[in-house]
């Protein structure tokens, strides 16, 4: 394992930014979000970003086709991402969300743009030193301080960052910045292992204290389609898109055209099952006529349909919905109400 002293970080950013576009959690007006780094930007590893880094692979809006009429034939030109990039400081929960997005976008028929971005990107994950009060990643068998899918894993050890390349991409990146790295001492490496253990244990204990987990949840939800649970829950939903847009695993999108004069472009963009128009048909028929059906769909999708199809829950326990839902209708409430087995307490 390697390490890099904190005073060398500015040099590191500089060096990496020359290699590729460098996405960091940047602070602006008090809000932390992933954005391309430029000199003078305020990097903030203190809290997880408001908007999850899924938008690096699955942008909120993305043009993939330009068209032109006027000539004899319709001219089409496809648009593809070309730039290599490094996504630095992704939390293990968010990194696990890419796994979930992969199930959707990398299975046949593959989403070519998503696949290409996955190839172009190098993922540097930063372990959590202390999970937040709204975190519950261990409920989905994740570790707060370790991300198995990372190309490079780093840990903030106070004076320095521990740096562990974990894939060929990660090795390649490490080779580029080798001059800035030092060899970590065995006791420093051991500290990272301890950090992994303590954060995971701490988070699991906190989850137990909250009195719910995901054991048996799928079974509990099967047959609950017409349960009065949804009637009870949906009333307070405002029907906004905060939960879906801030969810690292939500992946619904729409296809739209933008045109002016004789040319235009076609783009995909985020959409939200919380919006009434999401399922509105041309005829005026809406198969999910009220917020009740929409709320039910969102949670059953994450906790029942997705796991039935792909074998894993579409939630990574990042806690964004817990924190940001204005009326506190978050997934943990549903898990609890739906009867995820109460354990420990």
């Amino acid at each position: 394992m390697k390490k890099i002293a904190k005073e060398k970080l500015a040099l590191l950013w500089e060096l990496l930014a020359h290699k590729a576009t460098l996405y960091f959690p940047l602070q602006e007006d008090g809000a932390v979000n992933f954005a391309p780094w430029k000199n003078g930007a305020q990097v903030d590893f203190g809290v997880n970003s408001i908007v999850p880094p899924k938008n690096v692979f699955f942008p909120q809006a993305e043009t993939y086709l330009r068209f032109k009429t006027g000539a004899k034939r319709l001219q089409l030109e496809s648009v593809e991402p070309e730039e290599k990039f490094i996504l630095f400081g992704v939390r293990p929960c968010d990194l696990a969300s890419f796994n979930i997005l992969d199930k959707i976008f990398l299975e046949e028929p593959t989403d070519g743009l998503y696949a290409k971005r996955r190839r172009l990107g190098t993922l540097v994950s930063m372990g959590c030193n202390e999970p937040g009060e709204t975190c519950f990643c261990t409920s989905f068998a994740l570790e707060p301080a370790f991300a198995p899918g990372a190309d490079v894993m780093v840990w903030d050890m106070g004076e320095f960052l521990l740096w562990e390349p974990r894939s060929t991409k990660g090795e390649a990146l490490t080779a580029v910045i080798n001059e800035l790295l030092d060899e970590a001492a065995p006791e420093e490496t051991a500290a990272a292992v301890r950090l992994r253990d303590t954060t995971a244990a701490g988070e699991a204990a906190a989850a137990r204290q909250r009195g719910w987990n995901t054991e048996g949840l799928q079974e509990a939800l099967r047959g609950k389609f017409n349960d009065e649970l949804w009637e009870k829950l949906y009333h307070r939903c405002l029907g906004c898109g905060i939960c879906t847009y801030l969810c690292p695993t939500c992946h619904c999108f729409d296809i739209q055209d933008f045109s002016r004069d004789l040319e235009g472009e076609r783009f995909s963009c985020w959409d939200s099952c919380m919006f009434a128009e999401f399922t509105l048909m041309t005829s005026g028929e809406n198969p999910r006529p009220t917020q009740k059906e929409r709320v039910r769909q969102r949670f059953l999708h994450k906790l029942l349909y997705f796991p039935s199809k792909f074998g894993l829950y579409a939630c990574v326990g990042c806690g964004r919905c817990v924190r940001k839902c204005p009326v506190h209708l978050d997934i943990t409430q549903v898990i609890k109400e739906a009867g995820g087995v109460v354990s420990g307490s």
Partner: protein, 145 residues
């Protein structure tokens, strides 16, 4: 016509929403009287100045207008009695709001032009075009696609 921003001498695109009863007729009079006003101005005829929704104005800026003019009957002369009085309140607020967001106040103007004021129509359009030309292309609400 998309305006070519790279042109050395910049020619602004100006959208003028003109009320059917006064300002549009004023424009007609300017035409039949052979008065000239800049070809930069594209006139869109509306029933009344109060028919003009903020959506129209914003959309014009989004799709390449460098300036937008709303023209209606003089206050007191509205064909529908009071439409332009309502419009006057709405557009003064909108003007001040756009300026609050950082838009140059010259870019969105409201003028009262009667059917008999062909000369005023030509003068307003000429003056507006000159002002906007001096300001240069508008990028502030423009769709960059």
């Amino acid at each position: 016509m998309p305006v070519n921003l790279k042109l050395q001498s910049f020619e602004p695109l100006i959208i003028a929403f003109c009320c059917n009863w006064c300002s549009y007729a004023g424009g007609d009079l300017a035409g039949t009287s052979r008065m000239t006003y800049p070809a930069n101005v594209r006139v869109i005829r509306v029933p009344c100045s109060s028919r003009v929704s903020s959506n129209f104005i914003l959309r014009a800026f989004q799709r390449g207008a460098d300036g937008v003019v709303v023209a209606g009957c003089h206050p007191g002369d509205c064909h529908y009695t009071s439409g332009n009085y309502f419009a006057r309140r709405r557009f003064l607020l909108l003007q001040r709001f756009l300026e609050f967001l950082g838009m140059e106040p010259e870019r969105f103007q409201v003028h009262w032009i009667s059917a008999s004021e062909g000369n005023r129509f030509a003068a307003v359009m000429t003056e507006t075009t000159d002002k906007i030309r001096a300001l240069g292309p508008n990028r502030k609400l423009r769709d960059t696609r």
